[in-house]
Structure formats: C-alpha cells, structure tokens
Amino acid sequence: MATEERKQELIKGLYDSVVNMDEDTARELSQAVLDEGIDAYEAVTQGLTVAMDRVGELYANFEYFVPQLLLCADALYAGLQVLRPHVRLGERGAARQIVIGTVEGDIHDIGKNLVKIMFEAAGWIVHDLGRDVQLQRFVEEQKRTQSEVVALSALMTTSMMAMPRVIEMIKAENPAVAIMVGGAPLSRDIARSYGADGYADNAGEAVREAVRMLDELKNK
C-alpha cells in the first residue's frame, strides 16, 4: 500500500502530465496508481479532473489554445482509459448525464469535442451523438438515457437554424431537460431567442453553465 506522500506524488504527477500534454506519463502514472493500490476515484478527481479545470483556465486566459487543449485531452483520456474501469460504481453517487452533438447540416465538431472533454473531465457521463446529427436523434437519445442536459453545437449560420426546432422537439417530450447551445455564430441573446436554457461562449465555461442551468431549473 502506498504512503500518503506517494499518493500525493502520483496525483500531482497526473495533474502535471495533463497540464503539460504528456500522454505517455499520464498512462504510466495511472497504471502506477493501480499497481500501488491507490484509489482510482481519487486519482481521477484530484489529479485528472483538477488538471482539466486548470487547462480550462489557461484556455480562457488565452495562454492555451486549441492545439494545447487537444493534447491535454489526449493525456486525460490516456489516464481515464486506465483508471475508469477501476472506479467503483456508486462511489461518486449518480453521475450527471449529458447528450451532446453538432446539429444536422454541420460537420464542424472541434468545439463540440472540446466541450465533451470538459464534461468528461468533470465526471459527467457524456452521450456523444457526433456531428451532422438528425434532430430526432437528440430527442431519442435524451429519452433513452434520461440525461438532464442536452448540448447543441453549430458553426454555421444555416445549421444554427436547426436549434430552435430541436429545442422545441426536446422540450415537447420532456420540458424538464436543460438545453444549452454554443458555436461561433451564436450569442446569449440568440440562445435565449431560440428557447435554450443556457449558452456557453467557450468550452471552459460549459460545465459551469450546465450546473447553473440545472440549479435554476430545480429552483423553478
């Protein structure tokens, strides 16, 4: 059994490997966590998740850009791939769930993928429908998974026109679902006019916005 000092050393190493975009080290240290009997859940939440929070900050402050973010995500996933199967079910309570996708007519998915990374890092279960997603698929997937949040992405002015329609379709099935939108041509005003409950200007803000929406809906 590892000492507390060793545990903290490994968690700090995991944190650094993600922030420094070091996929190999993230994988090696995650394996070391398991080999040395350290709790996988703690390694994920205190190492990987906290690291992605920091990456989100660096991105929001224009210190990191998309290339860095993508490589940090590779390190995150390398660690998660090793650790996730060993996180004991029930340990973290019922995880929140989100359905995410780029709407029909749009194949630009880099923004959607960045948002997905942030939710996964924060411990959410993410149901990623991909890109150019037929509108009915969002309705069906939300219903199937009973996700509390649906996140819609669009880069084009034409594809963003799908958003009010799909929001209406989802809300018609389940008015309690919180729906957020994002993408270059959107703004908070447009999001509101489309009937969305939330809007995130960038990937770093998306998880906070989702939590805010859920709190707001709960207090209604």
């Binding site: 850009f65 290339p67 993508l70 029909e104 749009d106 034409t158 026109m161 447009i190």
Partner: protein, 352 residues
C-alpha cells in the same frame, strides 16, 4: 458613380460618392433569392453566375463573380466532400480528408485541372471574363491563401493542430510543399489571366485565435502568406482582398507585416473593431464588418440599426471603407433583412 467607379476611386485613394456595398461570399444567398437550391451555388456555375449577377444588380451591390468555400483543398487532393443538400447545410463539407496516415504527406497526389471543385470554378471564371459590368470592378480572381489553411483541410483540423506542437517538422514540411505548389500555380494563372480586372484573394479562417495562438500564427501561417503576397506584387498585381476571418485580434500585429497592395482591401469580421483594423492597416481600405448572424436572426429594424452603426463608424476611416457583413452573407437571410441592410448603407453611407 457606378459601383465600379466607387471601388476604383477607393483604390486610387479618392473618396467615392457613397460607401459601396460588397457583401462577402453572397453566392448562397444569391441562389436562394433566385429560387435555386443552395447546392447550385457549388454545382451549377451558369446558374450561380446568373444568380449573383441578378442579385447584385437588384440590391445595388458590387458584383464580383467568384465562388469558393472554406474547406477547399480536401476534395482537390483526393478527399471527399458532400455538397449542401439538407435544410440546414451551408457549403460543401469534407467527409474524408485525403491524408489518412502521417506518411501520406510525402506522397501527395497533386491536383490536376479537373480535380475536385476546379472545373466548376473555372467555368464560372470563364463566364465572368466574358463581360465586365458597371458594378464589376474585377471579373477574375487569383487565390493566394498560403499553405496553412490548405494543410488543415487536407490533413483534418484536429490532427493538423496537434502537429503544431507534437510534430512541428511535419507541419512545416507540409506547409512548405503546399506553399511551393501554390506559388507555382500563381505563375501559371498569372500568365493566363494577365493583371487587368484580376483581384487577388487571401485570408484564413483556420488561423484565427479561436484555434491557434499568435505565436503559432507567426510561426506556421505568416511566412507563407507573406511569400504569396510578395509573389503577387512581383507579378504586377497591385491589390489583394484579404478576408481576416473570425477572431484575429492577437494576430493583427503579424497580419499588418504583410504587404497586401497599394492599397490592399482588408476584410474583417465583427470580432475585430473597425478602428482596430484601421490602426493596423491605416493605408488600406477596410471592408466589413456587420455581424452576419444578425442579418439572419434579427428583425429588419435591428438589421437597419446595426448596419447604421457599422457604416457611421467605417465611412470616415482614413484608408477608405467598403461595407460588408463580416463573413458570408447568411444564405437563408430573410430578404427584408437584406433590404434593410442595404437601405441603411445607402441612407447613412453618403459622403457630403
């Protein structure tokens, strides 16, 4: 003045009678306005040309008959695209990039004249060269966009962006190869077209600060853009219309190192303030920068008011000003909004 005279006046550093309206990439709106399908903007050059011609005439806009799309390169180098067909599609979309494995970049299949979109663009170009209207300052286009955007399109954006950090040698190699190919193409095109009525085009959406850092812009984007413009000046082209697409504020110190002509035409999106653009390009004509989404989602009154603000800010810029949405005129913009936009420029864009 005619629109052609207005643009010629600006290029001669004289003031026109009013601010000209030259919407960026209006082909999608034009085909829909003419009751055609959006796909025809990219598949039917005759219909697209006539639609652009009629739309520019109906609204009183500068007519510049050319068509292209942001993801060009993927299809031409052997990948696949899907033409817009659905209700929410906007432009051709890449469904398969030609570079599947890293080593594929050492065996690129260079496009021929009949590759990908080239036959469509060539046909539209031939139609354009057959006439030159009084609202048409240029009737041919010559592209010099540099190697970076092309590299993103043929490798795939996510993958190529990772190369900037993990495999910079690979990224530099590919950009170099594509730049050399592009520069050689300028020689051939220049021989064919001459200089009269030819407008050079440049720009970059994938190099915005939404995606890359200013340092990455300086290292990977700037050199080939510069080379392209130096080549164009050497070939005798006096001006380039460059579309600085999206959030490029932190890249502006680098963009301003490039000689876009005497004067150049610098198109900016709503993400860049007009006064900022003019500070970096004091001797060039600034083109822009109404937020495109408002033309699609706003009311006519909102569009009119937003346009007024842009025109009043832009019309006194020292190097001259041309009005345009900051990026593509949204294809499905309501006609009454487009009329409101046009009316506001005409109402507030007059010079005393």
């Amino acid at each position: 003045m005619t629109d052609r005279e207005r643009i010629e006046a600006l290029l001669s550093r004289r003031k026109p009678d009013r601010v000209p309206i030259w919407p960026f990439a209006p082909q999608g709106f034009a085909v829909i306005y003419n009751n055609l399908s959006l796909a025809e903007a990219y598949t039917n050059p005759e219909a697209c040309y006539q639609a652009l011609r009629k739309t520019c005439r109906d609204f009183g806009w500068v007519f510049f008959p050319t068509v292209g799309y942001a993801a060009m390169g993927a299809w031409e180098f052997g990948g696949e695209v899907r033409m817009p067909s659905g209700e929410y599609d906007q432009a051709p979309m890449v469904t398969r990039c030609p570079v599947a494995k890293d080593e594929d970049i050492y065996n690129l299949k260079w496009p021929g004249p009949d590759s990908g979109f080239y036959p469509t663009a060539r046909k539209l170009g031939e139609l354009a060269r057959q006439e030159r209207l009084d609202n048409e300052p240029f009737n041919a286009a010559l592209g010099a966009g540099g190697g970076f955007s092309l590299a993103c399109n043929i490798v795939g954006l996510d993958r190529f962006l990772k190369w900037l950090i993990k495999k910079p040698d690979l990224a530099h190699y590919l950009i170099r190869e594509l730049s050399d190919w592009s520069l050689a193409g300028l020689d051939k095109q220049s021989e064919k077209l001459g200089t009269d009525g030819v407008l050079c085009l440049s720009g970059g959406a994938t190099s915005s600060n939404y995606l890359i850092s200013p340092q990455q812009f300086a290292e990977f984007v700037l050199p080939s853009l510069k080379e392209g413009q130096e080549k164009l000046r050497a070939l005798g082209y006096k001006t380039t219309y460059t579309h600085i697409c999206g959030e490029h504020n932190a890249n502006l110190p680098y963009w301003s190192q490039i000689d876009f002509g005497d004067p150049g035409i610098i198109g900016v999106g709503h993400e860049i303030k007009l006064e900022t653009a003019a500070r970096y390009f004091p001797d060039d004509i600034i083109l822009g920068n109404l937020e495109p989404a408002i033309v699609q989602t706003g009311t006519p009154d909102e569009v009119y008011e937003a346009t007024r603000k842009v025109v009043e800010e832009g019309k006194e810029l020292p190097g001259g000003f041309i009005f345009s949405p900051g990026c593509d005129l949204p294809p499905r913009s309501p006609v009454e909004n487009v009329r409101a936009m046009t009316k506001a420029v005409n109402d507030f864009g007059r010079y005393a």
